[in-house]
Symmetry: C2
Subunit: 376 residues, 2 copies
């Protein structure tokens, strides 16, 4: 059976075909629609992500993020987080793969590079939440942390808000300084960029995005002080127990909305708060968006830890484009062999008959294997 392989270059070609803005718009709309699903949690089964955490051969995390769309299909994202990748290896911090399975028969339908998809969906999720919680006339965006995630935060928010001023900072001054150049692709000709300190960024923002690699216990990344009362914050960086970006006093007065509660309560800003202090999650927000829009005048936080539904939505969009223009490689991954005979597909043509291989005696003589009874 055929498996569609979508490499980074295929994903890039898909983006080039529709255009970056059209792709972001489609992802925002599709994520909004998925969250708006009337059946919501009955439609999707999204276990918390789990993973391996290690210090050797590098500091890193490798996680799996499964999703079942009931009666339809299954999905899993496999994602590596290696914070030293950019400066040690010239690679993105986050590398990932997106896989989709046919739940009729277990067939692996798609394997796609998830690196760009992850960046885009994180921006799109902030856009979906901000559309409900931020003032519609928000024109000043603050970015604390100016790496890869900041690019898609600006991109996604610029699709929904009349952004004119962007205040930006990063612990690495060069990263902050290069930000305006790195977003030239977006052709935001009317936007002015200002590099300044974190507290100034926070104080200026109608919408503030924190997307830092702050260490566990190293937060907050700015001080609570002169923020606008109606500021909406997309907290993107928290993704590990003990790693949070926002001041507790701010969380205490804000409406704090997790993207996905089981995960945000463990590794997002929500871990700082008792359950009764938490607001609606992203699906609840979208389904009740009229009701929650009243919060646009107060301080609100979208606690974005990143969950599998977002990645699943992007993969659907990429598959649609790939099918439209014939992108990707189709590989006959699984054989349609005799279900009762695992060796059926192996026999070669009569001219090249199956070789059964060396006799076990040779293997034993080679020291690779011992017959039973020779245990010591």
């Amino acid at each position: 059976m055929r498996t569609l392989i979508l490499s980074a270059e295929d994903v890039a070609a898909a983006v080039r075909h529709v255009g970056l803005n059209a792709l972001m718009d489609e992802v925002i709309a599709a994520l909004h629609a998925a969250c708006d699903d009337q059946h919501g949690n009955e439609t999707y089964d999204v276990p918390k992500r789990e993973g391996f955490s290690y210090d050797n051969p590098a500091v890193g995390l490798l996680e799996w993020m499964p999703l079942l769309k009931r009666d339809v299909e299954a999905f899993i994202k496999l994602v590596g987080y290696h914070p030293n990748n950019p400066w040690k290896r010239g690679l993105p911090t986050v590398l990932s793969s997106l896989l989709k399975f046919d739940t009729t028969n277990g067939h692996l339908r798609v394997v796609a590079d998830g690196t760009l998809a992850t960046a885009i969906r994180t921006g799109a999720a902030s856009a979906v939440a901000s559309r409900i919680l931020a003032r519609p006339d928000s024109s000043t965006l603050g970015l604390i942390g100016a790496g890869a995630q900041a690019v898609t935060q600006l991109h996604a928010l610029s699709r929904l808000f009349p952004i004119r001023e962007v205040y930006v900072c990063d612990i690495d001054e060069r990263v902050a300084q290069s930000f305006a150049r790195r977003v030239e692709t977006l052709r935001l000709d009317d936007v002015r960029f200002h590099v300044c300190a974190a507290n100034e960024v926070a104080g200026a923002a109608d919408i503030l995005c924190t997307a830092t690699s702050v260490a566990v216990g190293g937060g907050p990344v700015f001080e609570d002080g002169a923020l606008l009362p109606s500021v909406h914050i997309n907290a993107v960086g928290s993704d590990f127990p003990g790693k949070t970006e926002l001041p507790r006093s701010l969380l205490d007065r804000a409406l704090v909305c997790p993207d996905y509660l089981p995960q945000a309560a463990r590794e997002g800003e929500c871990q700082a708060l008792p359950p009764e202090q938490l607001g609606p999650d992203l699906m609840q927000l979208v389904r009740g968006c009229g009701q929650y829009a009243a919060n646009q005048t107060r301080t609100t936080v979208f606690d974005s830890t990143g969950f599998a539904l977002e990645d699943y939505v992007v993969l659907g969009v990429l598959e649609r484009i790939a099918a439209e223009i014939g992108l990707g490689l189709e590989v006959e991954m699984e054989s349609r062999s005799d279900p009762h005979d695992p060796y059926a597909g192996l026999a070669g043509s009569p001219a090249a008959p199956l070789r059964i291989g060396v006799d076990l005696k040779e293997a034993v003589a080679a020291g690779g294997l011992q017959r039973p009874g020779k245990n010591r």
Copy 2:
């Protein structure tokens, strides 16, 4: 970065190259060696498998089985179990994919079809356990359930024991009758095959393998009675809570060895027994094989639920062969894009500049998206 794609045909080519017996011998030896690892549980981190279970669009399971080899690499098997595949869709019950990751940077190194690998490793695991627990002169093999798994049980055990008589049964008489034909590939010219009832199979066996698709609560698959006192049983079929194959009275008098305790206690034969009644697991068995060989004269059970270490070992063998003869497809899955700019790889040549796409106003006009403030 390059990802190696090994399709079913590549795996078949690898097997053809070394020969089926040599491959089985190498997998048995490699699994034994992995279990014999002095550092054992410190070397490997193997979480219990988790998964989705569903009834629609088909009865099925989709599971993920991760493994971390500390300081070396990470592995995950994704496996579908769809019991109606053979008769409804002409597909194997078990389809799977094996993925390997570089823990230096999160890079996806390999994606391989796991269908044949799963069949082979299940045989190899029984061989590793039987080598320690079964009498070395075992010459009569009993097979209850004569599907795909029975083929590799016979194959693996025939590499270590002087098998001369094979007694076989299946709830589907045609599957039992076709067994001898289906194992002709193995060229076991001295072996005689007998189709008979389950209790006769059990009574005749020096080594008995149960590999059935018995329903939850449908066991045992034979009656405790005239079994040889020194019989060794490889119980392969239990893989779900409530699904067991062996009579409780037999378990009570046997040394019962789980392949991997956390999993066997939940979904193997071990779920019927209190923890204090359980014997050593596969790694303990191998490391103490001299000590445990004393059990060859009593009834022993290897409770084989199938765990990620076995699959990881087969993938290593397949990778070795693939590298040797240049098998598989190398795909540039992940881009080496600017780590601070997710959109860096997208710009086309000057002749084909990046298209930013339709304006949001068009998207809004098309009804796909609404600017904020329009919430109702």
